[in-house]
């Protein structure tokens, strides 16, 4: 187990090193004056100010020293300042991050709550029309362009039926105190049920939008894992013992089928982030996705640099946590080593 963890940690470390190099060279690879790239607001500056900035950013130093300064800055939480809002990148990230996490969590729950039962039913009804229907639906979900799916949901539920709001996290009437950063939790803590309802209402469509691909993946994975497990000896034994069908399926089969499903939950994390960025854009959801896309389109390079590094850090940590979890869940994995 220790060997396995060390291997995973090494990969995580080198990935982070790779990301930091990539973001470091990002600014230095772009043709043009780096000072003008980093400080687009300072268009016509005096020669004096220019030299001052060169020294401030350390462009007069050798490359390796610049890199170490950059890394040292990261450890003290200095990720630069947004050229447009003049806010430190780290604090901007912290203010947008909870919205994305909240959305990713609700979408994963949505996918699991519908996907696992759907896959289970399909596996139990293998070969029937129910199975075919569920699996065809899952393939449609898997092929879905999420940004379009979100727009279609808005057109129908917000436009045609008028049930849900079109964008944002909460109605402009409410200002919950940001204790956790999660709108659902904050409104509950504030004790205002109408505010909670408004937050929930805003969250539904983005959740269904982002959750569609995970839902499809979980359903497919649960079905194939269940189908395999249902043929195992221990399931036959459980049946032979005269256990109820419910007990056989849920306690004996599902528990073992869920191991590969957990793997897939971890693997969808990267995709979930990609989906979150698209979903946030459709619903004007104030998360890191809209933040980083805006930065790329407006060439706010300090935000791009710091933001990509922070997002990568989060994803690498999540992947590492998922790797550890597999090791705990499935002894075969830690025996198999890191490869």
């Amino acid at each position: 187990m220790l060997r396995y963890l060390a291997g995973r940690a090494a990969v995580a470390f080198f990935t982070l090193l790779g990301v930091s190099l990539a973001t470091f060279f990002l600014i230095r690879l772009i043709p043009g004056d780096p000072i003008l790239l980093l400080m687009p607001a300072e268009r016509e500056i005096s020669e004096e100010r220019y030299q001052q900035l060169i020294i401030q950013f350390g462009f007069d130093r050798p490359l390796w020293e610049q890199y170490f300064r950059y890394i040292a800055g990261l450890f003290s939480g200095d990720l630069g300042i947004s050229a447009f809002t003049r806010q430190p990148v780290l604090s901007e990230f912290m203010s947008y991050f909870p919205a994305t996490i909240e959305l990713a969590l609700t979408a994963t729950c949505f996918g699991l709550l519908l996907g696992v039962p759907a896959g289970m039913i399909a596996a139990l009804a293998r070969g029937t029309a129910i199975d075919l229907g569920l699996m065809s639906a899952a393939l449609v979900g898997f092929s879905m362009p999420v940004f379009w799916w979100g727009m279609i949901l808005i057109t129908f539920f917000s436009g045609y039926l008028g049930w849900t709001p079109v964008s944002g996290r909460i109605s402009v009437l409410y200002f919950p105190t940001p204790t956790t950063g999660f709108m659902l939790a904050d409104t509950l803590l504030g004790g205002d049920l109408r505010a909670f309802w408004s937050a929930l209402n805003h969250l539904i469509l983005p959740t269904v939008t982002l959750g569609i691909i995970p839902l499809a993946i979980f359903a497919r994975q649960t079905r194939s894992a269940m189908a395999e497990v249902l043929n195992e000896d221990y399931v036959r034994t459980a049946r032979a013992k005269g256990l109820s069908e419910f007990r056989v399926v849920v306690v004996h089969a599902l528990r073992n089928a869920l191991i590969p499903v957990t793997t897939v939950v971890g693997l969808t994390m990267g995709g979930l982030l990609a989906g979150a960025i698209l979903t946030e854009t459709v619903f004007a959801w104030p998360g890191i996705g809209t933040w980083i896309v805006k930065a790329i389109l407006s060439r706010d390079y300090q935000v791009i640099q710091g933001g990509i590094l922070l997002i990568a850090l989060v994803l690498i940590l999540v992947n590492f946590a998922v790797d550890v979890l597999y090791g705990v869940l499935d002894p075969r994995i830690r025996a198999g080593g890191a490869s």
Partner: protein, 308 residues
Amino acid sequence: MTAKDTREPIVSSSGEPVALMQAGPLREFWLLFRKNLSAMVGLTILLVFLFVAVFADLIAPHSPIMQFRQHSLQPPVWQDGGSARFLLGTDAVGRDLLSRLMHGSRFSFYVGFCVLTLSLTLGVALGLVAGYFRGWLEEIIMRLSDILWSFPSLLLAFVVVAVLGPSLTNAMIAIALAYLPEFIRITRGQVLVVANRNYVIASRMAGAGPLRLMFTAILPNCLAPVIVHASLVFSSAILAAAGLSFLGLGAQPPAPEWGAMLAESREFILRAWWVVAFPGLAILIMVLAVNFIGDGLRDALDPRLSRA
């Protein structure tokens, strides 16, 4: 004419009786694939899309960038206010939606083929080298691939686009890089298995050099899972490129790329359903068709992977 007597010796184009030739693996594959209804439906749809993409200039009723200003946001033909001149309606500046969709299919095939060619050739080559030579070379290739694999693919795309600027080519480079590690891993895994088979050893005994061994003895027997995976990469690449274009980081307007069309249609989402519905439907149908084919390929080529 009566039913053909199948016992009659079939003759190939070169005149040799086919019975003497082996039932080729391709033919065997086709016989299996043909039985899969959803895969055949997918293949048919994809061929129709391909036809439209190739002949878009001839069959599209209008130019994809021609603006009929006096007809802007005209609904499809079957709705009140629609006309047969613009079958699927027009967008905000009066461009014919059907023509734009037809030309848009070119982008999807272009992206799919370019990304696939790039990541497949590079990935298979690296995987083959890693699996054949082993040792430090394998160690380096696999560690680099591990790092690329854990590097979130979308962030990779962002870095590439941020450095090189938003364009479809840059988006494709980024997507191809992101799919590289999967091809390396799959190929290497296969090579490790195949390299110890008797026919490879026999070929080595007969004096075949490394290149000959790699490309004629090993590679052809590694391809089944690679091909299955290729279909997934093809469809994912189309989705990813459409997504990047939707964010404004891929194909730029006025290109009739489906994702970019959706981005342009966002402000009309509650007023003109057709400018939103059709481009997305086109993406969905094409991706779905490729995924259907992918499932069929998996069932036909790799019985171990097929659904239980």
